[in-house]
């Protein structure tokens, strides 16, 4: 078996075994921590489609993460207050059903990604980074100044949303749901990477001219990738809101965008399990170093510097070597 396959398998086994162990040893806090890692990993898997496959350095993915979060927050807060979402022209109620919330989060973030992508992808390089950052900040300030849903203070949801047939309040069950969504995201990312679309997108990343010369439009390819990417990150946002039972403008902040980029870079850009490894490492560091010092971000910064300078392939790259292209 290839080393990377081995690494990924071990990571998967760990993601299954760790929460079971935490359950057995009665440490529900660790399950919550693992859930956090899994959800953030999904956000990173989303970004990696744009960043890794498409070469699109988006510093605005918090927009989609936040939209997913607010989709959950808005729908659930209306439901918990028995206050219809809209009354005219027809009455639409809020909901506390996870599957419904997820679908709406997916649709909302896809739409946002389509609009943001359509405009941002007219630029490239550092301008693309800046314009995606600006879009993220637009959403951030909008959320802050929108009093109906908590403004700066955010929005608390008192009951975790439900999933038919499951007790979502059980940490292990909610972890399982999150893991299932991560698995889904990984399947999507894997499938995209090996598809004709993935091949074309990856070629356009290396040379836009090459893609054009064979009659393919880099813009169309990138926009499609950006929408799928933002949609997955939006789903992660909805899960994240449910994990915390709280949404706030912080989800939209540029720090959040930066952290999602960090997961991908830490774990390994364009590696299928890169964002998973990165998010697990990030959450572990946050937990361990956060216990040692409030300023743990300094250590994280040093680590990132090390990765960027000495280990471009991230964690997976340094353990498993350069990516092997399948034939």
């Amino acid at each position: 078996m290839r080393r990377e396959t081995l690494f990924n398998t071990a990571l998967c086994l760990g993601l299954v075994a760790f929460p079971l162990w935490a359950q057995a040893t009665d440490q529900p806090f660790l399950i919550t921590l693992a859930t956090r890692a899994v959800i953030l990993a999904l956000a990173g898997v989303g970004l990696n489609i744009a960043l890794g496959l498409g070469g699109l350095v988006s510093l605005g993915h918090a927009a989609f993460f936040g939209i997913g979060g607010y989709a959950m927050g808005i729908l659930a807060s209306h439901a918990q207050n028995y206050d219809p979402l809209i009354e005219w022209p027809l009455s639409i109620e809020g909901t506390t059903s996870m599957p419904v919330i997820w679908l709406i989060a997916l649709a909302a973030s896809a739409l946002a990604a389509l609009a943001i992508g359509a405009l941002s992808l007219r630029t490239s390089g550092v301008y693309f980074i800046m314009i995606t950052l600006a879009f993220g900040q637009m959403f951030y300030y909008f959320a802050i100044s929108w009093p109906a849903y908590g403004g700066e203070d955010g929005l608390s949801i008192y009951v975790r949303n439900g999933f038919p047939g499951l007790n979502t309040l059980d940490p292990l069950t909610f972890y399982g749901l999150s893991l299932a969504m991560l698995a889904l995201g990984l399947v999507v990312a894997w499938q995209l990477a090996r598809s004709p679309f993935g091949l074309a997108l990856n070629a356009a990343r290396q040379s836009a001219m090459r893609a054009r010369t064979v009659g393919l439009s880099p813009y169309g390819l990138r926009l499609t990738a950006f929408v799928i990417s933002g949609t997955l990150t939006g789903l992660a946002g909805a899960l994240f809101a449910d994990l915390n039972r709280f949404v706030s403008p912080t989800m939209f902040s540029w720090q959040t965008s930066g952290e999602i980029v960090v997961f991908v870079i830490l774990g390994g850009v364009a590696r299928l399990f890169g964002p998973v490894a990165g998010a697990v490492l990030f959450v572990t560091l946050e937990h361990v170093l956060g216990g040692v010092s409030d300023y743990w971000h300094i250590y994280l910064g040093a680590l990132l510097l090390g990765v960027v300078l000495f280990a471009r392939g991230g964690l997976i790259g340094s353990i498993c070597g350069p990516a092997v292209r399948h034939d």
Binding site: R210, T224, R325
Partner: protein, 249 residues
Amino acid sequence: MTDPVLAVRGLCKRFGALAASRDISFDLRQGEIHALIGPNGAGKSTLIAQLAGGLKPDAGQVILNGDDVTALDTAARARRGLARTFQVSDLAGEDTVLQNAVLGALGATGRRPRLFGNALGPGALRGRAHAALERTGLGDVAAQRVADLSHGQRRLLEIAVALTLSPRVFVMDEPMAGLDGAGALRLRAMLAGLKAEAPILLVEHDMDAVFALADRISVLVEGRIIATGTVDEVRVDVDVRRAYLGDAP
């Protein structure tokens, strides 16, 4: 006489004070190799960029299969059957040879690439890609990364990708550049056979190859075409000899 497959009418392009294309008109007819020669800096690559769509002319038209394509971008012209190779190889360097060829096969379908399935799995794409690689003698290195290829192999891969497009016209910018003698001869034989499939506009410095292959030759000097004719006509053209071949008058 049949309509030209590719034609240029009154093409002009300036870079600031430099006139890189000055009122260029020429055509490429079915079944021919039309060579474009001229000293370095004459404006050959600039002309090709305007043909392929990467560069907008200041004035003039590019006509492909009878349609004015001046306003169309590179991808649209490629979909209409224009296959171009670069003077400096422009390939997906991290990808394998096969992946680059499959990319061409994907473009040749004229459709948006599918989001599912395996791009490299057995099927039409792979078949078309392999056929082009076999024709260019790259079948054995299909699994190698482009970055690990020799310079000559990269030149051949440029042509293989163009072949996957089954184009209606080839536009090649110095395909022989950097090939060793044997490689250049092999490529020469290949181009001689290729022109039956689609005419070739050939920019080339290898004069032996040009004189052996070309049905017609145009000479470009300082952005202007100073002569067009058969090999023999151009060979004896004194102006050309003075401007380009370096002969004393």
